[in-house]
Structure formats: C-alpha cells, structure tokens
Symmetry: C2
Subunit: 329 residues, 2 copies
C-alpha cells in the first residue's frame, strides 16, 4: 500500500506492507486523513518518531471483530496497555512509554490502511460526513478543556491563537456559554469565528526590539480574563497569556513548545494563577458536536489532496495562513 | 516607638513615629511578631519595599472602633481598596497596585505598633496563645491550598521542602485526609512531622555536575503523586516537582522564586498537569485549626528575641536550619 513515511530525513509517499490483523486490533481503510501541526513538528524531530505519519482519520473497518467490520469509524490516538495503574484510572492515554498513532511507536493514518486498537474505535453517525469526521480528534482536544476546567455560563474567556486548534477551542468555549474573545493574527481566520457570533481582535503589532529573543507575535492589552487559552504554538505566548489571566484565574496551555522556556514562576504564585496543561480529549463530546453541527469545522478545510500527493499536502499545511489540509483516497 | 526598618541598604531598629488612627483603620500594639522568608527576600531587594518590616503578628487594638478596642487580634496582610472588580469578587487580597502589610506600601508589624484595616482584623480566641496566634498568617497560606484544590481523603500528596511553610502544609494536607509524604533535607525538621504520623523522606544527594546551573537541592525518585506541593523556595524545585506529578495531577507552587526560571512547558501539556500558584489564604480555617490544636505550630519556634534585638532575629531567621524566629515585646 502507499503511505506517507517519515524516515528521519524526509517525508515521502512510498510502498509499505499493509498492516496485518493482531489480537485487539482492527485494520481500517482510510477514507480521509488530516494533517496536524504535530505532523509538521515530527518532521522537525519532535518525539524522534520514524514511520507512517498521521493521527486524524476516518475510515472503514476492513479487518477485526465481526461487530466492527464494515463500519465507518474514527479512532482515539493513544494506545492504552490496559494493565498499568494509569489505565486503571481511565487515563490510558497517559501510559508510559506512550504509544501514540503516527506519533510514538505506531504507524499512522496517512496511508491506505492503518491498524488501531478496537478499544479506540468510535462509530461515526451518518449525519457526519468524512470531511467533518476527520476533525473528531482535534475537536476532542478542544473539548478536553471542558473535562479539565469548570466553564460556567458567562465565564470570560480569552483564546490566543487563530490556528486550527484555536478556532475549534473558541467555538467550544462559546458553545459552553463562555463570553469568548478570540485574539489572533489573521483577519480572514477570525472572520470565521465572527460568523459564529464570537468576538475577535487582532494582535497589536509590537515594535521589534533587538533583544536576541524570539520576536513577539503581537501584543494584547485588554482586560484580564477568568480563563485564558494559549494556543499560538509559540514560546513567547506563555508570558503574554499569564499577564492576561486575572488573579485566581486559569490559563490553559495547549501549545507543545519544544525546549526550555523562560518563565517568571513568581507571577503564578503572586497572582495565584492556575496553569492547566491540556492535550487530548475524549471523542464522545466531539462526535456529539459534529452530529449536532454546533461547531463549524467545514470552513476550516483549506485544501484537499489525494494520498499520492501527501508530500505536497504536508508542504501546504506548513504554508503561512493554512488551515486544515485533508488527504483523501 | 521602636521599629525594624528596611531602608534599602540595611534593616535597623530605629525610632519612628507611631501610626496615627485614620478612617477604616485600627492601631494595634504588637505582642508578638514572626519573621518570614519574605522579610529576608525584601532585604535582598524583593518588591522594592522600604519601611517597617513584618506581616505576621498578634496584638491588642489600642485605637480604632470601640467594638475592637482592647481585643487581641491577628490581621490579614492584603489591604483591599473595596472599590475595584477584584474586591467585588471577594479577592481584595489581589488588588493592583497591591498594598501589603510590611511588603508593599504599608509599614509592617516588627514595631511597637502597627496600623491595619479594621476589615482585616480577626479576634483571637483565648484558647490560642500569642506564640500560636502569630502563626495564623503562614498557616492560612497553607490552608489556601484547600481553597484552591480539591483534596479528597486518600489523595496521594507529596510535599517538597521542610521549611516553615512546608511543615505547615504537610500537616494541613494530612489533617484534610491526604496520604502525605513530606520530602526535605533536614532530618530534625522531618522528625516534627513524623511525630504527627506523617511519612517523611530525605532528598537523595545528587552528585554535583558542573553545568553552571543552580546546584540541585536533591533528588526524589519515588512514585508520582496526584498532588505535589513545591515549597522548597528554590528555582530548580519546579522541574523536580513537575516530574513528581502524575498525569492529570496537580502541582501547587508555593515558592516565590524571583527572576526567570527555565521550564519545559511541553511537559505540562503532554502529561496534562495543572499548576496552581498559591500565596495567601483566608484566616478563618487557620484560626479554627489553632483553636482545635489540629496543627502543631509550637514545635516550629526556633528562637524568641525582643524587638530591640530584631536585627539579630533577622539574622537568626536566615541561618541554615532555622525555623520560626519570633520577636516579642
């Protein structure tokens, strides 16, 4: 079969043996897969992964338990061992060492077929088409915030970053009843949120200062909020987000910035701020939102390319201003 | 009156005018005051404060509303303006700019008399003597953790640091029903906790590595806990504490380490750790604990000196291994 494989040097579409069935696993024929920033990070060395890329997918079960065969599915990306104390807490997605689809120790979904634990499968309702279903994984990551933080109606929420994840998070918090202000640097992306009735603002330009530091993406100088979500994917975003969080407020950290960041830890203590690291979420709320169309994901698709052109898809996803690039059959 | 005054260069016992009464304030004759690490930090430049030091005290109201005159009191240290939105949220202790007794914009309690807002006063029950009552403020800071984090009976809790605050925190969490392990570097301090039935462990020595970084205080390599409290007051403690927090666990940050720390923010996201900055707490639970003697504070007194010798008291508090140094009349 064809697959987009990262060999540590280049990501290339090559021929690989299709996955064969093993106990507890299902083989899924991929109908549509999405490219995530994490895929791009992997091609810069993140996680030291080698293998088939891709962890956002929808497909049809072609091998596995009879009850699943022929069904259209999406799949959670963290493979639980089912034996450790972390799994016993229902947090199999935090096992160590982690096995994560297309990220750590398991070939991914940017291929004709992918092997996924049966326990990770979720059937997709007919109301949700392939190009919506492929958003289940990133949308679940947005819903993870509601698992971790109490968001009451009327909560003031600031979302920093208008990338794919930021746009999903702003919508999820808006649906949960928060008073959301989304701050980003792309007028055309923020317009997608305004179409949903969400307030937006552009980062203010910052005069460049030659400090040798990472150039700031932009400033924000409004009122501090109860809930701030940092989803710009930049190292300097953390300090800005801390300053935008009001005393005893909560800052949700969605950006996995590699390497060390310089942080004024005393700011967290003096203003008694809670910082919540947030990564993956449960699929159920995401699937319900797609079924009910309470979150708009279709506007987030910026390109569609067939698997044979997946290398081009990866480049398109890395282009400035790109949103979701889908890889189809 | 005599007062221990920090002038930006030296802390000296000098003569000052006693505070006079103003609207909303009470004048308290100090019976006993404690020296806190924050006082020591101020003499290193923290907060840029100038004035009379000290924010832990018990005394008698000698001027102010008739209802308070003659009563033995302790006082919360943050002066609320009573007019801003932060005060309206009941978080007057987070006002900006902050006015904090003996720390920012208000003369402190290492003096014969101190002025405190009437709203900050709490009467002290006869069951609590002066040397216990003076612990109300630091004990409230320990109880702040229970305001901010849900601690269920059986919660596994690691407390790093066996300074005054660490010893109070370990006791408060133990009383709340957590399964506490306190880790520190002083066998004799940890013994105080073992006398309360709290498990303890010494940091393991770490072979010095010449990296130019701050030398590590010690290692800990046990099982990660649901709740970790960092109270070592050291910059390198944060990374150790993050590693000791299990996935989706909570790390309470009690150390106000000045300056920038280098932090792997991605660790917080990947393991979905919540970091809670925690500073001051409400006095009521602390006073109840002192009345009921559920927390041992008396063993934490390591020296008593009269106000005239407060400079010596400051040096004694800075000595390695020192616990609470009290300044008496």
């Amino acid at each position: 079969m064809r697959a987009l494989v990262w060999d540590g040097t280049a990501a290339r579409v090559i021929d690989r043996d299709p996955p064969s069935i093993t106990a507890g696993m299902a083989v899924v024929e991929v109908r549509c897969a999405g490219i995530c920033n994490t895929d791009l990070e992997i091609t810069k060395g993140y996680m030291g992964f080698r293998g088939t890329l891709g962890h956002e997918f929808v497909g049809e079960v072609v091998d596995g338990p009879a009850a699943w065969r022929g069904r259209r599915v999406v799949g959670e990306i963290n493979f639980a061992c089912g034996r450790c104390s972390t799994c016993a807490r229902g947090l199999g997605r935090h096992g160590r060492p982690p096995t994560v689809l297309g990220i750590a120790g398991a070939d991914g979904a940017l291929a004709e077929r992918v092997a996924v634990p049966v326990a990770n499968l979720h059937a997709v309702d007919d109301r949700v088409d392939d190009e919506e279903a492929v958003f289940t994984e990133p949308l679940a990551a947005a819903f993870a915030i509601l698992e971790q933080v109490r968001v009451a109606p009327g909560t003031s929420a600031l979302v920093f970053g208008d990338g794919k994840l930021g746009l999903l998070i702003a919508q999820v918090l808006h649906q949960a009843g928060a008073r959301v202000l989304a701050v980003g640097k792309h007028e055309e992306k923020l317009a997608l949120l305004r179409a949903q009735g969400i307030a937006t603002e552009l980062f203010r330009p910052v005069a460049p200062v030659d400090t040798g530091a990472v150039p700031p993406q932009g400033a924000w100088a409004g009122e501090p909020a109860e809930l701030v979500v940092e989803a710009t994917g930049t190292a300097e975003g953390f300090t800005r987000a801390v300053r935008a969080t009001r005393p005893r407020g909560t800052l949700v950290l969605k950006s996995t910035v590699a390497g060390l960041s310089s942080v004024h830890l005393a700011d967290l203590v003096v203003h008694e701020i809670t910082v919540v690291g947030s990564r993956c979420g449960l699929f159920d709320p995401a699937l319900r939102a797609l079924e009910g169309r309470t979150v708009d994901v279709r506007s987030l698709v910026s390109a569609r390319l067939p698997l044979e052109r997946a290398e081009e898809a990866l480049r398109a996803a890395a282009a400035p201003g790109a949103l979701k690039v889908l890889v189809t059959r």
